[in-house]
Symmetry: C2
Subunit: 155 residues, 2 copies
DNA sequence: GGGAATAAGTTGACGCTTCAAGTTATTCTA
DNA sequence: TAGAATAACTTGAAGCGTCAACTTATTCCC
């Protein structure tokens, strides 16, 4: 099955390249990239977890690692028990350096291999798959509750 | 990016469902399924590693786990230092039980969501991506050498 | 306004994967 | 044919993710 192999090999390839050449996980990259897009380069952990498609627990561990590198800083948020993660200047520089490395690789492995037509197809297909995946993704017990309450609120 | 989310969420969803309902990893499932297709339900570890898209080290650990479950048995092969993995009867029964569970889920998450046309597109696109991925996949230092020697032989 | 439920994070243990280093057996090659 | 290289594993440590359990703060409601 091609599908299977792709979904095994592609993430592995991308992850290991980013790890080797930028010293970070693909997930860590995603977290920092998400932060960089926010006003003030900061975001509450709960929300960051959703944006980065990870559980809060995972995120908490990752933020600790990123703090150790000096790339991110925890800032206590304004509301409730909220904690924000904030991208430091050092983290921003690191991200700017890692970005091209990463996107070049994605380009090489995906976009250069496919015709523009195929890229379009792939985008459409993956977006349809996500529609089925996102509402039920198992993001751990906490995230499940978050999703549930998000649903409740949206009624 | 849709692509990114799909490649994060889909494997996670499939893995966690298989883990919950059949008590095995998707990789373990793949290994047992590969064995079941071989004559005598056995295969040398080196080759099994390639078929299952994993490093030899990873496979060795996994085979140890599967042996502990009584699903697979190590059999010393005929040539050289070769070791074969053999699917036991218990393992075969387990696999027969896990198969439908797994494929139902894949169907639900992928094939039911897409039109037949989209499925065709997805198959074609993934097979083209694999063409780029397989020759250079980083399967650890040993597998790299194996690939290298495979190339050497094929000249 | 006081106690229960809920929300947001943190933490530690456990399992899996990778990587590097170690074995053993086999095959070249000088 | 002895020694070096190579092949086929195995093993152990380190890192990451998940899960369950634990804090602490907030809100609900009677």
């Amino acid at each position: 099955m091609h599908l299977l192999a792709t979904f095994t090999l592609l993430p592995a390839a991308i992850d290991s390249q980013l790890q080797r050449e930028a010293g970070m996980t693909h997930f860590e990259f995603g977290v920092m990239a998400a932060l960089s897009r926010q006003p003030g380069r900061r975001l509450q952990l709960k929300d960051l977890a959703v944006v980065a498609n990870g559980s809060l627990s995972r995120l908490s561990h990752v933020i600790s690692r990123l703090e150790r590198q000096g790339w991110v800083r925890r800032v206590s948020g304004t509301k409730g028990r909220a904690t924000d993660a904030e991208l430091t200047d050092k983290g921003y520089r690191k991200l700017m350096e890692a970005g091209p490395i990463h996107f070049q690789e994605v380009r090489r492995l995906v976009f250069d291999v496919l015709t523009p037509q195929e890229v379009k197809e792939l985008k459409r297909v993956t977006s349809r798959l996500n529609a089925g995946l996102i509402p039920e993704t198992n993001l751990g017990p906490l995230a499940r509750r978050i999703r549930a309450s998000a649903l409740r609120q949206s009624r």
